[in-house]
Symmetry: C2
Subunit: 348 residues, 2 copies
DNA sequence: TTGTATGCGTTATCAT
DNA sequence: ATGATAACGCATACAA
């Protein structure tokens, strides 16, 4: 079934049928009715290949997800799906490994699929600086800022990772912890890890002489968290009173490791995570964490992309985070200090 | 950049360029070399819209995922992605709500995208019986069996849900539990819930006079598990000694609820789950569960789909499950009974 | 308001 | 082994 058949069946011409199908003006109500009736009756769908070929673009939005085992990205994808479903932009979700180059991948997909826009879930400044210039369509980088990169067609929606990490570590120190280990990614490879590490460093400077017991790097996974915690306990012994994990999955892995060493959380070792994944609230103990507002990020990145597709200028949004205090961090000192710090959404 | 440009740049004609790009015979090595060099140099990609339009089909595989918040499906999608990535079939992943009709969705996508094959993650016999006949391309239903439906182009890869549930409940009873509650989905709506419920019923018949304390239905989510457990504790009081949750997310939600009632798992209430999601092994207690072998399911469904695309007849595979015994179930009696039951892979 | 004609980039058929 | 050309289904500029 093609629009040719539709034309034949309705008695109208190809042009009129096409106009009806695209909700264009200059069509009589009668024609519209007649044709739409047949469309409904026959369950007709436009051939997207022909449409896209003709229009020289595919009307679809490409989502490039960097890292498969990332619960935060999984949440984001789900929510982005839900928000784009209302529009008539089909979503093409493409997963790549953490160490692949997301911009190269985007370039290839652009050539092949000619999308109207791109959403990057995760990414590295380096890669963008090197090759993003070749990309013509509007794009939004999610979870990293792109404000400093200066591309006219690249927006970003991100959490202030440094500030958030700083806030997490400050919270531990405010609770009296001085022997702290941090678990995260390789700062050379993962920009997010680097930013969070810098946040930690900033927090440490507030307490002169304060140093980390250790910084263990790993992949962002439950197993990674477990293994890193194992190394922390081996190298620092039972001196450590608190751990900051740069992702909730790491925190959950670490907690299980702590239990397996016959220690308790938070009585013996406190743990704070990062992300705010749902399962953290159903853990025992409920995970204290720096929550990223995924719903907000999803809403905003979709909105910005749609706006920029419609010609709006690019924007760079910083999404607020919350220090979500539950049960996995113990106060060591008597000092009572309310530190439910959270930053405001700012536009830069 | 099109094959026209490629023809101009190489000095060959459109036909030759197309033949080279499609690895067809009857091309001189020289032409192949010259043209491929330019392709590589320029990073040329065929326009899939034009290709698909011409070929009257899209070469892509559609994956229809029923239910967004399903960790098991998320795992499957990830693994299917990985396995299809090696082929040159692009994957179109389409998420629909639990209560949408997956076959209608497939029909629409077939008309629009003309895929070579379809993967259904979740589905209902009813919907398939009603409308699957209209679908011409090979398809595989994953997590439900389609053996009894009798469609020549519909294969299936599934766990024996009834047997697996039976095995879970039997395990609880073998451990001495007699006051058991079950948490799952609405048997009217969810075929999987119905099968698992039937498995429970079968297990109960092994112990004459044995009845469930209650069967609570809910959505498959952490919150759902928590809320259902709340209802169990309210209606059955503290009589209940064990709970079978028809999904690990339900089990994790339930465990947290039990803790919040100042009861311990498994000392006061035992919990057994279903699925075998990774986080279960990092929980405290480690979750005893009926593990579905997602890697196997992913591998098999992709293999079967590719085979049937190549003309092989449809197949119906039952994937083995394991009773994975960890820490969340306590033995109430002294009776020592090894029941690490697991079924074998069978072809029906 | 409607109809007609052209071309998008590719594959495939035919001729050379 | 290669080149010319027609079609795939649609949107759109132009004609009526």
């Amino acid at each position: 079934m093609t629009i040719k058949d539709l034309a034949r069946l309705s008695g109208y011409s190809l042009g009129t049928v096409s106009r009806v199908l695209n909700n264009q003006p200059n069509v009589s109500d009668k024609a519209r009715e007649t044709i739409m009736a047949i469309v409904k009756e026959a369950g007709f769908e436009l051939n997207s290949n022909a449409k896209n070929l003709k229009q020289q673009r595919s009307n679809s939005i490409v989502v490039i997800v960097k890292g498969r085992a990332n619960e935060l990205f999984a949440q984001l994808v789900e929510q982005i799906q839900a928000r784009v479903a209302g529009t008539d932009y089909p979503l093409i979700v493409h997963y790549i490994d953490e160490d692949e180059n997301e911009v190269h991948c985007a370039l290839q997909l652009c050539r092949e699929k000619k999308p109207v826009g791109i959403l990057f879930l995760g990414g590295t400044s380096q890669n963008f600086l090197a090759d993003f210039g070749e990309i013509q369509v509007p794009a939004v980088l999610v979870t990293n800022t792109a404000a400093h990169l200066g591309f006219a067609n690249l927006s970003s929606v991100s959490t202030d990772d440094a500030a958030a990490a700083c806030s997490a570590l400050s919270y531990l120190m405010d609770q009296g912890h001085r022997e702290i280990a941090v678990i995260g990614g390789d700062c050379q490879v993962s920009e997010i890890s680097r930013l969070r590490y810098e946040g930690c460093a900033k927090a440490l400077r507030q307490y002169p002489g304060m140093e980390l017991c250790s910084y263990e790097t790993t992949r962002f996974s439950l197993q990674g968290g477990y293994a890193s915690m194992e190394r922390v306990l081996n190298s620092c012994g039972h001196r450590v009173t608190a751990v900051f994990a740069m992702a909730d999955v790491l925190a959950l892995g670490a907690i299980r490791c702590i239990y397996d060493h016959d220690l308790r959380v938070p009585e013996d070792v406190s743990v704070i995570g990062f992300d705010g994944v749902p399962v953290g609230r159903f853990y025992t103990p409920k995970l204290t964490t720096v929550r990223q507002q995924t719903e907000q990020m999803a809403t905003d990145c979709v909105k910005i992309l749609l706006d920029t597709i419609d010609g709006a200028p690019s924007r760079h949004l910083t999404i607020p985070y919350d220090l979500t205090i539950y049960e996995s961090v113990k106060r060591l000192n008597a000092e009572m200090k309310e530190d439910s710090k959270s930053c405001e959404a700012v536009e830069s």
